[in-house]
């Protein structure tokens, strides 16, 4: 048998060692395996130090990325080693390798031997592949292994269906690895090198006296596929060592010094030759064949990230890379663009509902109408919109939450987390002229921030986007609850209910939240509420401290377009800016890229390949990473594992941005359970609240597409009704009392907890069209007076009225003093904020602005953003804040 000698070739070794587990027993001895093995592999001529990669993964995607890189780069020998826990299914098949956050029986949290490892290695360009598996049930890896087409050798630490006792040995690595290292470092008497077969034989001899937990002899197994050669793994020998042959030295020298330049030379020659050939042939050329439409990719993200990702997607579309063939696509004329990308966004809760009802999403998209509508009447195809091929939420917490809402089996959508594409640390914006005394801006504990902003100190109103609607809001809540004292968020901490309650006490008054961080900042822009009645503004910028991301705060300070606020001519005046304070150990937004596979897609292969290529490009320092950092994000770490500092051109470097580009990026480490517990804590900290939806159903609503928007907004409001929140739905005018302008129809009485009733009523109006609408003009002020009187009967402070109207038709017949009485009533305690959505052409006129102001509510004009804007305001009705701070 001949021996394959990889010396001097481009070899790679990937050593995956997992010792720290969140839900499984730790394996402390595995920690040393990586260094021990690396030393043994680089000890002789085979691997150089830069050809060995150590990987200690916490998430499955980290293994995927490392495997892909190694498989792409290796041309000679590729060695992959895994030590850690392994699990199999009840039938002994489907070996799963466990990484730090893996949970048994949750396959999306583990690394599939067959689907991830083998399928990735099958694309490798190496001449030989050697795999070493040191985990329980490693002997079960054999079956799937034989389906591949590459020359591979596999060493399995245990025989089939056996576990191994190992992992708690003292320093120096596990028993098995230590034995392997010794053989590779010392060599075998009488032999000039150690081959794969030699290694297996020697290991068996060493382990002959050792037993598995089942009581039989511990016997490593091996397998070979598509090769009869043996592979040399070490040139260590107890005998006299022969010098490295000149041929090998020459090859290595060539590889290290010439190859790169040779490539350049070759490329130059090729370009010249092509150019010459092109010039001569130019006259004979016919027009190029037409390009068919490119593959359409649907990219779903959060509203905050949409503009930056839109720019990145465009850059990719027009890049040269996008004209290269994709795996699995049919024949296309050369040079055609392969993919085109549509970027769109939706609020977090709608994305969650969409994935939870993926069967309905698919059913509506197919036109079969399959998939059962839930009580909320979710219509995912309408919102969030298209079925995404890839989803980039603001943080991994959003992904965990969406996963939690999906059925365990049978969903037509499968989510694959491929890891982060861009970071932005979370910050608290403190008005520039109210900087906190004795508090550092970076690495300050949340506790100190809460104290520094309280009424005894700077007296600032903390404003947070809704944790239900926004990823930034959710991650800030996780930071507040779990890293409140500045401690590191482990994977198993539980939020302290009193801490949650305390934090929520400080957060915002009813009606002051926003659906997202950019809309929140837009409302705080100086002058946002003046000059343009269409734009809601609070005029409270100087008294507020928004909880947002570093990127959005920089955009705000620099006067960039933000939310629905257009770009300004220049940065804000220094006194109008916010200074970014970075709460300690709060994880940064990490924007993971989730590939979504839909069952039954005929073009699944090219679609997946297209998403994967885009994902790689987005992380490429010369590709998407540059676009995203130019927009104010922090880049993902490169191959060296170092998080790159913002480039000189980054807006974060501007002295006017108010941020600190040297502030660290804390990666997201919380477990799925913690996300759930934080949301539970948030929910518990909510006070019970009461909501009255008062809706204009006069016939004028039917014109100009107003009714669907109004019904959509009312429906969106109903989605905010939760366990602690009751509601009522009243409509006006009342058909039964044409002469009483104050008459309202109590479609759903106040105090109802079941959103289905309200939803059914709205559906009736939608389906009935004009028949459900009432022919006499809507007298808004009278109806509103009736509603406010009813609400004020209760002493509770967490209540609000959502008023949805076309326009007030009651003016001409109105008795004198109605408006004055209403305004006075609104100012009485307890406060009942009126949140108004106006569909009519006049928008938020002075009357409506006045009523909203008197009640500490807000007025929002109709438009595509209106339902979400309203939902954000409604979401905070139950926040246990002190009202009217």
């Amino acid at each position: 048998m001949s021996e394959y000698d990889a010396r001097g070739k481009r070899n790679r070794a990937l050593l995956v060692c997992v010792h720290d587990y969140e839900t499984l027993t730790g394996l402390p001895a595995v920690e040393d395996n990586a260094e021990e093995l690396a030393r043994a592999l680089t000890g002789t001529d085979l691997f150089t130090a830069d050809e060995v990669t150590l990987c200690r993964p916490r998430e499955p995607w980290e293994v995927g990325q490392a495997l892909k890189t190694a498989a792409d780069e290796a041309r000679g020998l590729l060695l992959v080693h895994f030590s850690g826990h392994g699990r199999v299914g009840s039938d002994g098949g489907n070996l799963q390798l466990m990484v730090g956050t893996s949970v048994p029986q949750q396959s999306h949290t583990t690394v599939s031997w067959q689907d991830m490892v083998l399928s990735c290695l099958d694309n490798a360009r190496a001449e030989r592949i050697v795999i070493v598996l040191e985990c329980c049930y490693s002997g079960n890896a054999d079956g799937a292994f034989h389906s591949l087409g590459k020359p591979m050798s596999l060493l399995m630490a245990a025989q089939p269906n056996r576990r191994i006792f190992s992992g708690e040995e003292p320093a120096g690595g596990t028993f098995f690895t230590r034995a392997m290292v010794q053989i590779l470092e010392r060599g075998i008497p009488g032999k000039r090198f150690v081959t794969f077969e030699d290694l297996v034989r020697a290991l068996r001899e060493r382990l002959a006296d050792t037993q598995t937990p089942m009581g039989d002899v511990w016997q490593p197994r091996s397998a070979k596929q598509n090769t009869v050669d043996d592979v040399i793994l070490s040139f260590a020998t107890p005998e006299v060592r022969l010098p490295t042959p000149p041929r090998i030295r020459l090859r290595r020298w060539f590889n290290q010094h010439i190859r790169r330049r040779l490539k350049l030379l070759l490329a130059l020659c090729t370009v010249l030759a092509l150019a010459a050939a092109g010039l001569t042939a130019l006259h004979a050329l016919r027009p190029l064949p037409a390009c068919p439409p490119a593959l359409e990719l649907r990219l779903l993200t959060a509203p905050e990230a949409e503009p930056a990702l839109r720019q990145a997607a465009f850059d990719y579309e027009m890049s040269d890379l996008n004209t290269r063939p994709l795996h699995g696509e049919s024949d296309l004329p050369g040079g055609c663009r392969r993919t085109q990308i549509t970027v769109y966004s939706a609020a977090k809760d709608q994305v969650d509902q969409g994935f939870a009802a993926a069967d309905r999403w698919q059913g509506e998209a197919k036109g079969t109408g399959q998939g059962t509508p839930d009580s909320k009447g979710t219509d995912p195809l309408y919102r969030p919109g298209p079925q995404p091929d890839l989803w980039i939420p603001e943080s991994t917490a959003d992904y965990e939450e969406a996963r939690r809402g999906m059925p365990a089996h049978g969903s037509p959508a499968t989510l694959h987390n491929t890891g982060p594409v861009a970071y932005s640390p979370l910050v608290v914006g403190i008005p520039a002229n109210k900087r906190l005394d004795d508090v550092e801006q970076v690495d300050v504990s949340w506790q100190d921030l809460l104290t520094g902003t309280d009424s005894a100190h700077r007296d600032l109103k903390l404003l947070r986007p809704s944790p239900v609607l926004s990823g930034t809001g959710l991650l800030h809540t996780i930071g507040l609850y779990l890293a409140g004292d500045g401690s590191h968020i482990g994977s198993s901490g539980t939020p302290d209910p009193t801490l949650a309650e305390g934090a929520e006490q400080r957060l915002s008054a009813p009606g002051s939240q926003y659906a997202g961080s950019t809309e929140l900042l837009c409302s705080l822009r100086p002058g946002a509420d003046q000059g343009n009645p269409a734009r809601p503004g609070t005029g409270q910028g100087a008294r507020s401290a928004p909880l947002v991301s570093e990127k959005s705060l920089a955009d705000f300070n620099l006067g960039h377009a933000i939310g629905s606020c257009p770009a300004l001519d220049s940065a804000l005046a220094p006194g109008d800016r916010y200074a970014a304070y970075y709460p300690k150990n709060v994880p940064a937004l990490d924007h993971p890229l989730i590939r979504v596979d839909w069952r039954g897609a005929a073009d699944a292969a090219p679609r997946q390949a297209a998403v994967d290529r885009l994902a790689d490009w987005l992380r490429d320092p010369a590709g998407g990473r540059r676009t995203l950092t130019e927009q104010g994000y922090r880049g993902v770490p490169g191959k060296d594992g170092e998080a790159p500092a913002p480039a000189p051109g980054s807006p974060l470097r501007s002295s006017r941005a108010g941020v600190n580009p040297d502030a660290p990026v804390t990666p997201f480490r919380a477990g799925a359970d913690q996300v759930a517990r934080v949301l539970e804590g948030y929910d518990k900290a909510q006070r019970s609240s009461r909501l009255l939806i008062l809706m204009d159903t006069s016939t004028s609503m039917a014109e100009g597409g107003k009714l669907p928007v109004a019904l959509g907004a009312a429906g969106r409001t109903l989605e905010m009704v939760g366990a602690h929140h009751t509601y009522g739905l009243w409509t006006f005018p009342d058909r039964a009392h044409p002469d009483d302008p104050a008459a309202v129809r109590r479609v759903v009485p106040l105090g109802s907890a079941d959103p289905a009733r309200g939803k059914a009523a709205l559906d009736r109006i939608a389906k009935g069209g004009t028949d459900e609408l009432v022919d006499h003009g809507a007298a808004m002020e009278e109806a509103l007076t009736a509603a406010v009187r009813e609400m004020k009967k209760s002493a509770g402070s967490n209540q609000a009225i959502v008023l949805i109207l076309d326009e007030d038709d009651g003016g001409p017949r109105r008795a004198a003093g109605v408006e004055r009485a209403l305004t006075a009533l609104l100012k009485e305690k307890p406060a009942v904020p009126v949140l108004t959505l106006v569909m009519g052409r006049a928008g938020c006129d002075t009357t409506l602005q006045g009523l909203a102001g008197a009640s500490h509510g807000q007025c929002v004009p109709g438009g595509p953003q209106a339902p979400d804007l309203l939902a954000g305001l409604v979401a905070s009705i139950g926040t246990a804040g002190k009202e009217d701070r």
């Binding site: 190029l288 649907r298 055609c336 109408g369 298209p386 669907p708 006499h776």
Partner: protein, 481 residues
């Protein structure tokens, strides 16, 4: 059972031109089977006809009333699938689902700009080789691609010039400007004089300052539309397939520079760069601009704040100086049969009913731009709208559409504008072209000074329209056997 279609192949069926007798025979058979007066014959088609559309058809309104009338008349039910609420989202979903072979829709309500792409992607099937001569010629172009007809125009649209009749009159102008140059002079001069008067009267505030003009320059499809109209006004040819060849060189450059000039000279406010249709209409209706380019659908909204015919009026867009043509971009929607439809006869019957002469007249009366010539005839000679009249509201101040049961006041102007209007580039890669325009023009308009991006813009626009990267466009790809 659905036949799987080849993935991403260009159009699945590419029949050679059929002989005349075959066409006649087919037409006769189709007419017999689905003639719109007799309704579809009870055939083997099962289940409701599935119509996929944006949200505007799924609730109230004239287009939904027409669908309900079809159901009542034929006994066939129509299921409306509500697509994403943005046009980009609708296109993306329909195209991607079509490419994945995943759609069982029967009728698609498509934006007029998508025909070429959907035809090439095999998402819709050909309708025939010609349409009834009653459809406006300009509008028929939006369903024509590669020698075939791919759908039927449902409702159209053309840009109009809204102007403040009262103020122009006060400063000595009784007619709207005839060409773009005149508009610029008039806008600058009248706005200046008006603002001076405000200042003199002590009424000048930021909110009351009068600007010359507003339009849609936010980076979305509206910006592409305004850019194309400006390029055409500078001599651009709507039928050209390249912006870097022949007489087209420079048209795009001049068009974009013209828009920037209106911004730099403060004829248009800075805020125009974040305006869409609604925002610009609000600005005009609030009395803050003398002119506005917008669609007729905003007429009623403006009329609620300004008196039509007295305070404001509409005209065709100004003419281009060289040949006097007044070219607007055509908007609107077409109905097409989905390639995967299992109920093609029902789909055809529904489309014919929705686009028949009576239906088009209904659309016109209820504020849409009809696609048939006959709809624009005088009321007595026009086809009769079969829908019952809308109920009038009796509320004290409740306003109905200002023109119950008759044609809207802008109808003659719109008719002329529609006939002169032109479709956007009919390319498989229109969407990419539009993205290039939105991103590059927006960058340029936001830049200070006159940085010339226009060459790069024209080159990138060409690159977008060919579907190829830059290097590949100029050389033949290596033949790899």
């Amino acid at each position: 059972m659905r036949t799987p279609r080849p993935v991403r192949s260009p159009r699945p069926v590419r029949t050679p031109r059929a002989s005349l007798p075959t066409v006649l025979l087919c037409l006769t058979l189709t007419a017999a089977a689905t003639g719109c007066t007799s309704g579809p014959q009870p055939g083997p088609e099962k289940g409701p006809i599935v119509l996929a559309t944006g949200s505007d058809l799924s609730s109230t309104g004239v287009r939904q009333a027409l669908i309900r009338a079809f159901e009542k008349r034929t006994g066939r039910s129509v299921r409306i699938v509500k697509l994403p609420d943005t046009a980009d989202g609708q296109r993306s979903q329909l195209l991607a689902a079509g490419q994945s072979g995943n759609s069982d829709y029967d009728v698609l309500n498509l934006d007029v700009a998508w025909t070429a792409e959907f035809a090439e992607a095999g998402v819709i099937r050909p309708w025939g080789t010609s349409l009834d001569g009653d459809f406006l010629d300009s509008v028929v172009k939006t369903v024509s691609y590669d020698g075939q007809i791919w759908g039927v125009p449902f409702n159209s649209d053309a840009g109009l010039l809204y102007y403040r009749k009262d103020i122009l009159h006060d400063y000595g102008y009784d007619e709207p400007p005839s060409n773009w140059g005149a508009l610029k002079n008039m806008a600058g001069q009248v706005a200046d004089a008006y603002n001076r008067k405000l200042a003199h009267d002590g009424k000048a505030t930021t909110n009351r300052k009068m600007y010359g003009m507003v339009a849609q320059l936010r980076p979305y499809e509206g910006l592409t539309v305004n850019t194309l109209e400006s390029a055409w006004a500078m001599g651009g040819d709507p039928d050209a397939t390249s912006f870097t060849q022949g007489e087209q060189i420079g048209a795009l450059q001049l068009g974009v520079a013209e828009i920037k000039d209106r911004l730099d000279s403060m004829i248009m406010p800075h805020e125009t760069m974040s305006m869409d249709e609604t925002e610009s209409r609000r600005w005009f209706a609030d009395g803050r601009a003398l002119f506005m380019r917008n669609w007729p659908v905003e007429y009623a909204s403006v009329a609620e704040k300004l008196t039509p015919g007295t305070q404001f009026d509409v005209a065709e867009l100004p003419a281009r100086p060289t040949d006097g043509k007044r070219m607007s971009v055509l908007g609107g929607q077409n109905l097409a049969i989905s390639a995967g439809s299992k109920r093609p006869a029902g789909a055809r019957a529904l489309i014919e009913a929705l686009t028949g002469p009576g239906s088009e007249r209904c659309l016109l009366e209820r504020g849409f731009a009809a696609t048939r010539d006959s709809a624009y005839r005088e009321a007595a000679k026009a086809p009769h709208c079969p829908l019952p009249p809308e109920r009038a509201e009796h509320g004290s101040t409740g306003q109905r559409a200002p023109w119950p049961g008759q044609e809207p006041p802008y109808t003659r102007t719109l008719y002329a504008a529609l006939r002169a209007a032109e479709p956007r580039p009919r390319s498989t890669h229109y969407q990419t072209f539009s993205k290039v325009v939105q991103i590059r023009v927006s960058e340029y308009l936001n830049s200070r000074g006159g940085t010339a991006i226009a060459d790069a813009l024209a080159r990138e626009a060409d690159e977008a329209l060919t579907g190829r990267g830059e290097q590949q466009r100029t050389r033949r790809p290596a033949d790899n056997g």
